[in-house]
């Protein structure tokens, strides 16, 4: 289905999707984040955005979620109550193609081998409506180096292209996409062939507009293997503050911690929670004996880059990096994955 919607009609479309929780970019001072849009206030949505500061991964993989609640006594018996997500359908409106591709990497990861029921329940109920990057939203965008594109469709149910002239070209890519375009008093009209040509031209130009590049990605795997023991990692990680912003903002980083939180000791009541974790923290890998397999900054930076590029290539034949550039733009000490990979 290929349609046209005017920019002014987008709020009208959103108002009709009352069975869905809508996440969309909302401006807060000088940055954007994906937030829940109140059903009667779709005007707050800002699709003229660059990209969100934190990635929208939290919609499918929340920073904190409860696996189960427990109550009872360790001296007698414990009752466990599974707390799977309720499964209310949700839409991420205006997600950038890199962030959608990152969610599709997580789809593969969390459904491979033993399935993760929490992630997959949320994901099955989520519809991704992408927005083409006519111009790169960040000076550090490099999606085209890691198999992506500013008009990429990976993971998406709908792709929207800003045609200018207050119009979006809206293309459904899956049945889920068709479903949310099929609303009463249709705010859409058929796309004309000249609009289709215009959309294609914008797509072609969008790729040319990406100027950041990691060179020779076809040989990156073996070149990384060759520098595993190099002093490069020590040099590059020298300034690392262990703040973890790189993986916190990353749209595809999915490592997590699991802990118990208790609210009462007698009877024992509490919950087991999953929280985002971070490979740049020293205690991420530290054994209870104190032994740490990745004790220095160098081994942790190397782990982040190897996991993104090399290990994911070995395990999934894909990169766990979709080129959004957030880790490069936001590192307080300027650790730059693009430059590191171009050095080896």
């Amino acid at each position: 289905m290929e349609k046209i919607i005017t920019k002014q009609s987008v709020p009208e479309w959103i108002k009709k999707l009352e069975d869905y929780t809508i996440y969309a970019p909302i401006k807060n001072e000088d940055s954007w984040s994906f937030e829940v849009v109140e059903p009667r206030q779709p005007e707050v949505i800002d699709l003229n955005y660059l990209n969100s500061s934190p990635s929208p991964k939290k919609v499918v993989f929340p920073p904190k979620e409860v696996f189960f609640e427990f109550t009872g006594s360790i001296y007698d018996r414990m009752e466990l109550k599974e707390t799977l997500p309720e499964g209310r359908p949700q839409v991420i409106l205006g997600i950038r193609p890199c962030d959608a591709a990152a969610i599709s990497r997580m789809d593969e990861f969390f459904s491979e081998d033993v399935k993760d029921p929490y992630y997959l329940t949320r994901r099955e109920n989520t519809i991704l409506v992408g927005l083409v990057c006519n111009t790169p939203p960040s000076p550090n965008c490099f999606c085209t180096s890691v198999g992506g594109s500013p008009h990429g469709k990976t993971g998406l149910d709908i792709l929207m292209t800003d045609l200018g002239d207050d119009l979006y070209y809206v293309e459904s890519l899956t049945q889920k996409g068709v479903q949310i375009m099929d609303v009463p008093d249709k705010p859409f009209r058929q796309a004309k062939s000249e609009e289709r040509s215009k959309m294609r031209k914008i797509h072609t130009d969008s790729v040319k507009n990406i100027t950041r590049e990691i060179k020779d990605m076809d040989t990156i795997g073996t070149r990384l293997d060759n520098v595993f023991n190099s002093s490069l990692w020590e040099e590059e990680s020298m300034g690392c503050l262990r703040c973890g912003i790189c993986t916190y903002l990353c749209p595809s980083c999915h490592c997590f911690d699991v802990n118990d939180e208790i609210s009462s000791t007698s009877p024992l009541e509490g919950k087991r929670v999953r929280t985002w974790d971070n490979c740049q923290f020293p205690d991420f890998t530290m054994h209870s004996s104190g032994h740490n397999p990745r004790p220095e900054r160098a081994s942790r930076l190397r782990q982040r880059i190897f996991h993104k590029i090399r290990y994911s290539q070995q395990n999934f034949n894909n990169y766990l990096c979709t080129g959004c550039g957030r880790c490069v733009s936001n590192c307080p000490v300027g650790i730059n994955m693009i430059e590191i990979l171009n050095k080896i």
Partner: protein, 274 residues
């Protein structure tokens, strides 16, 4: 196992045996699932134990898979969860999920001599394997155990070890001289050099502290063992058991899923991040 992999199954501790006292205390716990279920597992696999309110810890299963009445875990008191376990009593309730990991390829070892080499708590992951092999003795060549600890008081399964001597040669060792000790004095790898002589058609399986494993492998190589005839187990910090939480990896391998059992032929090519 529950269809939700993160949901543990409540189990009762039916027996606690104090193996080692003091600073480096070790206890063996036998458990039964409250719902009467049991899970089938292979020698060398692990399970995630929950102390509700404290968290989870990945522990190797030290009972043999053919034991129907209980699962046994022999645990060194080290961190938050294992300390809480050591404070528990018989009848108390924990949670168990698993089994996780690959296990030892015991089927492939039929007809071969098996030499088990343990140090300290490292005998626990070998214990179920050793008993399975002894129970099916006629299927294998010579079975031998070498086991050592800092002092004789640090040896686990002491009574069972003397019992085991009736079935197979057991060579014990302690690190330093002590009164009344008439077996080997010195580190485990030194005992290996002294007692192990027959690498042909033999498999050596070693588990213990990292430093012991390192020198045991060197000793075995010196004796003529090939890389693919030496097996060991790796441990790393774990939270999920299914290769998703992201911290136990060595290179592209997740120890909880692709390990914990590795042949030296596989392990020597992986980064030393364990």
């Amino acid at each position: 196992m529950n269809s939700n992999v993160y949901l543990p199954e409540p189990a009762k501790i039916i027996r606690i045996k104090e193996e080692v006292q003091g600073q480096r205390a070790i206890k063996s716990f036998r458990t039964q699932f409250l719902n009467g279920n049991r899970f089938s597992y292979q020698c060398g696999q692990c399970a995630m134990l929950s102390v509700f309110g404290k968290g989870e810890s990945m522990i190797s299963i030290s009972s043999a898979p053919n034991v129907e009445d209980y699962l046994q875990f022999s645990i060194l008191k080290t961190g938050r969860v294992t300390t809480a376990l050591h404070e528990m009593e018989e009848g108390d309730v924990i949670g168990i999920r698993g089994p996780f990991g690959n296990g030892f390829p015991l089927q492939e070892w039929k007809g071969r001599n098996l030499t088990f080499i343990g140090g300290g708590i490292g005998l626990a992951p070998l214990w179920g394997l050793l008993h399975t092999a002894v129970k099916n003795k006629e299927e294998y060549g010579d079975l031998t155990l070498l086991y050592g600890a800092r002092t004789s008081k640090d040896l686990v399964f002491r009574d069972e070890l003397y019992e085991l001597k009736k079935d197979i040669p057991v060579h014990l060792s302690v690190d330093t001289e002590e009164e009344g000790w008439d077996e080997f004095v010195g580190f485990v790898p030194q005992n290996v050099k002294e007692k192990v002589t027959w690498p042909q058609n033999s498999i050596a399986i070693t588990c213990g502290p990292p430093i012991m494993i390192k020198f045991t492998i060197l000793a075995l190589k010196e004796l003529g063992f090939e890389d693919d005839r030496i097996y060991t187990t790796v441990e790393n910090k774990m939270k999920c058991g299914i290769g998703k939480c992201g911290r136990c990896n060595i290179g592209s391998h997740y120890v909880c899923k692709n390990g914990p059992v590795y042949s030296w032929a596989e392990l020597k090519d992986l980064p030393q991040e364990y």
